[in-house]
Amino acid sequence: MQDIFQLAYWIPLLPLLGSLLNGLGRRYMSRSMAGWIGSLSVLGSFVLSVLVFLHVKSGHSEVIHYFDFIKVGTLTIPFSFQLDALSSLFLLIITGVGFLIHVYSTAYMHEEDPDQFARYFSYLNLFVFSMLLLVLGSNYVILFIGWEGVGLCSYLLIGYWFKNPAYTAAANKAFIMNRIGDLAFLVALFWIITKSGVVGFQDFFSFVQQHQFTERFTATDITVITLLFFIGATGKSAQLPLYTWLPDAMAGPTPVSALIHAATMVTAGIYLIARSNFLYSLAPHTLHLISWVGLLTALLAASIALAQNDIKKVLAYSTVSQLGFMFLALGTGAYAAAVFHVMTHAFFKALLFLGSGSVIHAMGGEQDIRKMGGLSTKLRITYFTFLIGCIAIAGIPPFSGFFSKDAILLSVFLHSPLQYGLALFAALLTAFYMFRLLFLTFAGQFRGTEEQKHHLHESPWAMTLPLLVLAVLSVIGGWVGIPEVLLPNAEPLIQFLSPVIPVVPHAVSHETEYILMATSTVLVLLMVLAAWWRYRHYQPGVSTSPFTRLLENKWYVDEIYDKLIVQPLSWMAAWLRSVAEAKVIDGFVNGVGRAVQYSARQLRFVQSGQVGLYVLLMVLSMAVMLFIQFFIRK
């Protein structure tokens, strides 16, 4: 089994090969062929990941060095992979969920032309490759390569239907907002390089342990670096203030939303901070800020999700909100809880997205939940699995979401009761809007057109099978993190992660834990009831209050950004182009030329042709010269 680590490079390589095969050969590829290549390559990675995971689980971890990527002076950036608990866990999530979504996509994207179909799979495989690179990299640079790579794939996939200008705009927005975060990431990275000269996680970790660390790094340095990394994470993981790209990113095909914008890519920020936990533990101010940003994001996104009518938008805001929860966990120092939530969230959010894709598929592309309703009878599997997803996300025991969210809430409670209250509120909102979505979609009467009604049908097996698998995972996925209070010697996940993330024993009585769990469960159930009460017989056209309109319009954040940043920049660029460049700088350059020509035109009139004037000028200059020589220069 030792050899399995030596094969680790196949994990990212397989999807890359799949991507290249699909991408370059797309003209000669049939749909099924492209689908097979895409899915099987990820399946291969998944199998390898499982083997790696098992090996790691038996207590091994290793940094495998391939070649030196960049070597300048004393700075060496190796191209090497780190196989340990954290990365192997993420490997499983990425390849596992990724494989399911590939399978799902073969059916979902079936209406595309073969070459576009292959292009889609090429992008999707490329994404998996990049994401794997991100989590496998043993240093910040390789991580960054993957980090940017997933950004690129996200861009490509959001703009997959490139004929639609709105979609390509969303793609650009996603990439650019990510780049803002990337800049912060890079600056942090440069900072580390400048101060320590190393980039590897382990190298840096051991550097942090050394005594020279405190000589070179001041508290400010640490705070700045951690803050910058966090800003990088807010870009990728859609936190305040850089979250607005994620809802727009729903322009991409639904499986993409499931894979990239729910299960994997957006959790890269959490991965980054969890990876750097040894540094963050030294930066209490940053952690505090992270917790608040996460909390506010969770609240804000949840509030927006309450009033959205696009099925995918609701899920998108829900994702933002859940990511906020994860950051909240990170901020309170519960790195393992955050990673736990990443995992469960990957299951149920992928499930929900794929379910919504199934709905959209059935509705012939309709995404407005006001025009749905009553689908539970027609789409039984979809309904059933979607329900499981909702329960899981709402945090009802014993579904997976309950345990991960409970771990977070417990940690927050220990950290700050105020934050706990707000977080609980956000969790309640989650339950409310998710069940609102469920009821509007599946309950009540069908509100669509007759034609749509006629065409309603359950999706093919390639779509339902992943739904079922994910549903099972959503149910049982949380059991790896059952808290000690419920099951002695449990929490295998935290134990598993302990080599990377030190276990923090929390001193809290069992009674308190019971009370917290009970409170949240009861309140969530109440919210579910409330949602059912309100939306079981929903009729569109109900007049909305100003507050709802505010929520529907997402607090006008996009508009504010546009007014505050984009438009001034655009105005400034136009001004620079037409005034600063053309009039001032080039005007000066041309002005010099014109001044020469002007003086040439004027100066030649001295040459009047009059001999008298010539002599006069000569005599005058002569007199002046003599005068200066004898009466001034003396």
Binding site: V596, Q607, Y614, L617, M622
Partner: protein, 456 residues
Amino acid sequence: MNALLVSALWGVIMMFSGVAIKRMNVVRYVAMAGVAILIGLNVAEMKGWHLLAIDTTGMLAFDHYALLFNSTLLLAVFIYLVLSGSAMERIGAHCADYLALLFFIICGLLMVSAFESLLILFLGIEIITIPLYILTGSDKKNLKSNEASLKYFLLGAFSSGILLMGIALIYGARGSFALSGVADTIRVSNSLMLSGMLLLLIAMSFKVSAAPFHFWTPDVYDGAPTVFTSFMATVVKVAVFAAFVRLFDRSFALQINAWQAWVAALAALTLFMGNITAVFQQSVKRMLSYSSIAQAGFMLLAVFAMNTTAKEGLLLYAATYSLATIGIFAVLIRMKDYSFEAFNGLASRYPWVAAALTIFFLSLAGIPLTGGFLAKFYMIKAALEQSVWLVLFSLVMAAVSVFYYFRVIQAMYFKPVGQTDPITFDPGFTRLLIGVAVLLIVLGLFPQLLIGQLYF
């Protein structure tokens, strides 16, 4: 000295050949032969082989530099005769007489680079200018030629008066006309000396057309028959520069503090006036006369710096500037219209002529690979040790010069053929022109070929 005698003699021969020989091109060949003989004599004298040893009683001293300078000038004259000599026949019936005058002028040229006495300087300058008044006015029916001649004459005579006053004042201070006056040290700041020197400076500035004493130049060069403008603007001008340098180097070395700043000021003003005014000219001929002023500004840097580099550089400058300008004028003479538009599309019809012209203009602008660059390079190098600001200013002005030189290149290469009346360049002429261009490039790559002769 031998060349001086022979050139006077050859002038007389030319006078009579006009009567004896009916075919004008034969007369021209005689003239070319004369120049060739002069070159030979000069070179021979450089090698220390004198045909006639003449005692000049300290009036003239043909040192190595003077001989080399003269040989270079004579070579330029030879090329001038070959390229443009035929154009003299078109001016009037006195072609042989023009050539005779040319030889008398050469006589003066040979003197002013070797004078040891202010008297010879004066005589030399007069021998140069008096025939030039006539050559300027030789196109008698042409009012412009008349006007140029009269202007040149009046202003030239006036400046001769200044020159003489200067010489008289110097004589008063020194008691001698010899260049290296007796025990000058005590008279360094003598006001008589200073005023005489300043007047000489002014007179010489006039002769080399340095601003603000340059006003005659554009009008005279413009009005004179082009073939003589070519001669005046090149050979004559650089020879007078040699006299200028010799005078101030040999005679006023001790007073350098007094005149150096003036030369700097004159150089700056000349560069400014010449370059700036040239920018807005409509006629290539007139542009070239302003350009000659601008180039004089650069040559003044040699006077300003007055060191070995400067003298070497002046030699190179004389050669490259003369060759390039003679080449351009040779083409210009063959054109009916001197405007920039007349050059439109020349490159497509006569690519070789255009290429040669391009090299000439690049050389004048001081673009590397051409001799003109190295000439400017030497000037800058010489002057940089004295004043950075002047050098910077002259460099900026060199950039301005690109403005007008490149107008011709633009017309030749980038503009469509405009005019209809055809210009013809016979193949022999084209080949010669190419030869001159190649010579310029050779000088630009291996200046030692010329400057190295100084040290043999």
